[in-house]
């Protein structure tokens, strides 16, 4: 270890950065105390714990900024089996989350254009374009991203990541671990579990080599336990929306979910969600909902439209409509029950084959149907995401079936998760207004 570099890391991250973030938290908490947090007249103020989320994410990217001088770094896909990497003390960067952050900060379009200038097609996932653009230009709203020592891509979300990570491996000249998770059409077979487990065993050998130390089995179990706890708490949080009025809108979940994705396996994520659950329960007790008067309860399918979160929340809020459930935020809640800290290898194999995008489209329909029951839904908005094909495929049929077989009004809304050029506000507003009028008249 280079002592000078390590001292600089400690100074920047644990002294300067941490104090700055803490000060920011105190100032925001003071604002919240005065009822000044959140400027919306249509929506109730955000959760106080959202200040904490912000601080955690700030710390995460701050650590990332200096991570190369402190230890090993791995770039991983959002649904990758990361527990062994965490146990080996890798700093984990999630390019998709970074992409979403760029989307919310309205930086994604410019970065996508950087990638397109280098020859990447506009038909490619806009997360991939955003991140490749950031990689090529060195620009990012978080200041600086650490270089990877290792890459881990898992095909449980899409095939895009397979090619995307090959680009990264070529660019950074670092090893790439690829975990191929067989698609589950109807059920998870034992030989598929064995196949993924075998890949994980090999992956651990590579990761140990890069980390320069062996995997400590006790730590591995502990990280798996923390992942499980966080996922279980997240599931509980989402379930609280069965109450009327719903205490936490899916638009808030979209921003509050960052830690369950990029900081799972950490104790602070578990603490955060435990506190958030407490606050949500207080809201339920006090009868505080997302909007002052909840009239319509809706479902959201697919990724968020990161650059228009607030606009959409307020647009719906003006009609007393709240998105109370979503297949997307649920994707990380579904993982907890699959995890078993006593058998981390087996459990990792099962858990990471289970994400919704790795199962047949009928499974997503079944999830939505269950949500109609559990969350007392009045309608569904299916975001047809221009550049996330695996999530959008099947939506036409799903919409059809929800309408015809379940009597649930459903709207297909065309947009893109990160590329505002594939989003037309005038038309989105027109469809949403017509949909609201239709639900209100029903």
């Amino acid at each position: 270890m280079n002592i000078g570099k390590e001292l600089n890391y400690q100074w920047q991250v644990n002294v300067l950065g941490r104090s700055a973030l803490r000060l920011n938290r105190i100032l925001m908490a003071r604002k919240a105390g005065k009822g000044q947090l959140g400027k919306s007249r249509l929506l109730t103020p955000p959760l106080n714990t959202s200040i904490w989320t912000k601080e955690l994410i700030g710390q995460h990217y701050l650590r990332g900024r200096y991570a190369n001088s402190h230890g090993k770094v791995a770039w991983v896909t959002s649904g990758a089996p990361i527990e062994f990497l965490k146990a080996l003390d890798f700093y984990l960067l999630y390019p998709e989350n970074h992409g979403a952050l760029c989307g919310a900060a309205r930086a994604a379009e410019g970065l996508s254009i950087e990638a397109e200038k280098a020859g990447y097609s506009r038909d490619i996932c806009s997360y991939a374009r955003t991140d490749i653009g950031a990689m090529l230009s060195g620009k990012t709203p978080v200041g600086r991203l650490p270089k990877p020592d290792l890459l881990l891509a898992c095909t449980n979300i899409c095939q895009t990541v397979l090619h995307w990570y090959r680009v990264l491996a070529h660019h950074f000249q670092v090893p790439l671990i690829l975990i191929d998770t067989p698609f589950i059409y109807t059920e998870m077979t034992d030989h598929a579990v064995a196949f993924v487990k075998a890949q994980l065993e090999e992956a651990i050998i590579v990761a140990e080599k890069v980390a320069g130390k062996p995997l400590d089995p006790r730590r591995f179990k502990e990280v798996t336990r923390l992942s499980m706890l966080a996922s279980e708490l997240w599931l509980e949080l989402l379930r609280r929306n069965r109450h009327r009025p719903a205490p936490i809108s899916v638009f808030d979940q979209f921003t509050q979910m960052a830690p369950i994705v990029e900081m799972r396996g950490e104790a602070s994520t578990v603490d955060l969600y435990a506190a958030m659950l407490k606050e949500v329960d207080q809201r339920i007790e006090q009868g505080i909902g997302v909007v002052p008067e909840e009239r319509l309860r809706l479902l959201w399918d697919n990724l968020p439209v990161w650059y228009r979160l607030r606009y959409l929340a307020e647009f719906l809020g003006a009609h007393g409509a709240v998105i109370v459930a979503s297949t997307y935020t649920n994707a990380w809640a579904e993982l907890g029950p699959q995890m078993d800290p006593e058998h981390p290898m087996e459990s990792m194999a099962r858990t990471y084959m289970y994400p919704i995008l790795n199962r047949g489209t009928g499974e997503k329909l079944a999830t939505m149907r269950q949500m109609i029951q559990d969350y007392h839904l009045d309608g569904a908005i299916l975001h047809s995401d221009r550049s996330c094909k695996p999530y959008s495929v099947g939506q036409m049929d799903q919409r059809d079936r929800l309408m015809r077989q379940d009597d649930l009004p459903a709207l297909l809304l065309e947009a893109d998760h990160n590329d505002p050029r594939s989003y037309s506000e005038e038309q989105v507003a027109n469809r949403l207004t017509a949909f609201m009028e239709m639900l209100e008249a029903a």
């Binding site: 065309e414 037309s424 038309q427 469809r431 017509a434 009028e437 239709m438 008249a441």
Partner: protein, 259 residues
């Protein structure tokens, strides 16, 4: 002179329509003009004309619909064209079914229940294919007047398929077909088919519940009516004023305010 109780205006991208209704919700007056980019001025002119005919409009509520509805400051309320079209056609024809409205720059399909409620809808407003603009552009190339296009297309036994769905590319396809000496009516028939197929796809996305009801300026074209019936296998029904259904529905919404 009839007394009017409420007004509706439909500010579309091609035309602007205003309808007045009496206390029974019957259409007693209407006005229609090409759309002026200064929508607010145009609506003021319409209102002045209504006032000239019916006297003061004090206490006569106005509801606006159509793409330019937000520009109508005089309106008591804005309602989308989906709700207004459903309201208008149901009042006029007295039954539910699937309504297709093909306008100059957009088209929509709406499934309406037996009680007149919107059950489902689909809109095409992102792309000129599937709207009147598609025919307008391509027929312009063939130098056929808009009013005669439909008849000409129906008169042809032959039909050449147009492979481009994009309006701009269809135009160049038409030019090359003319250069190959293909008779104009056969090209026209192909163009109508292309439009009708797009619309039929939209109909199937909301589901066809007979009867198929048509509205919008483009359905005055006989080839569109005939080919839509052929393509969907359903008889088509038209209101007396297919272009006014949005404005009529808006006036009926206004009547609710008046009451």
């Amino acid at each position: 002179m009839a007394k009017i109780e409420a007004l509706g205006v439909d500010v579309g991208s091609t035309t602007v329509k205003m309808v007045a209704v009496n206390d029974h919700g019957e259409m007693v007056w209407h006005m229609l003009e090409e759309a002026d980019p200064r929508a607010a001025d145009q609506v003021s002119r319409f209102l002045a004309e209504a006032a000239r005919r019916f006297g003061s409009l004090n206490g006569v509520p106005l509801v606006a619909t159509g793409y330019g509805r937000k520009l109508v400051q005089q309106a008591a309320r804005q309602v989308t064209e989906i709700s207004c079209h459903a309201m208008g056609i149901y009042a006029e024809l007295g039954h539910g079914g699937t309504l297709v409205d093909i306008g100059g720059q957009d088209s929509k399909a709406i499934r309406i229940s037996d009680s007149g409620k919107v059950i489902d809808f689909a809109m095409n407003d992102k792309c000129a294919a599937g709207t009147g603009r598609f025919l307008e552009n391509t027929a312009g190339r063939l130098r056929v007047p808009l009013q005669e296009m439909g008849q000409d297309a129906l008169s042809s036994a032959d039909e050449v398929p147009i492979s481009s769905t994009c309006t701009v590319f269809a135009e160049s396809e038409v030019i090359s077909l003319i250069a190959q000496g293909i008779p104009v009516p056969a090209i026209l028939k192909g163009l109508h088919r292309s439009l009708v197929k797009r619309v039929a796809a939209m109909i199937s996305s909301v589901g066809l519940t007979a009867p198929l009801m048509l509205s919008g300026g483009v359905v005055k074209n006989p080839a569109i009516r005939a080919m839509l019936a052929e393509e969907t296998g359903s008889a088509v029904t038209l209101p007396d004023h297919p272009q006014l259904m949005g404005a009529y529905g808006a006036a009926l919404y206004a009547l609710r305010i008046a009451e």
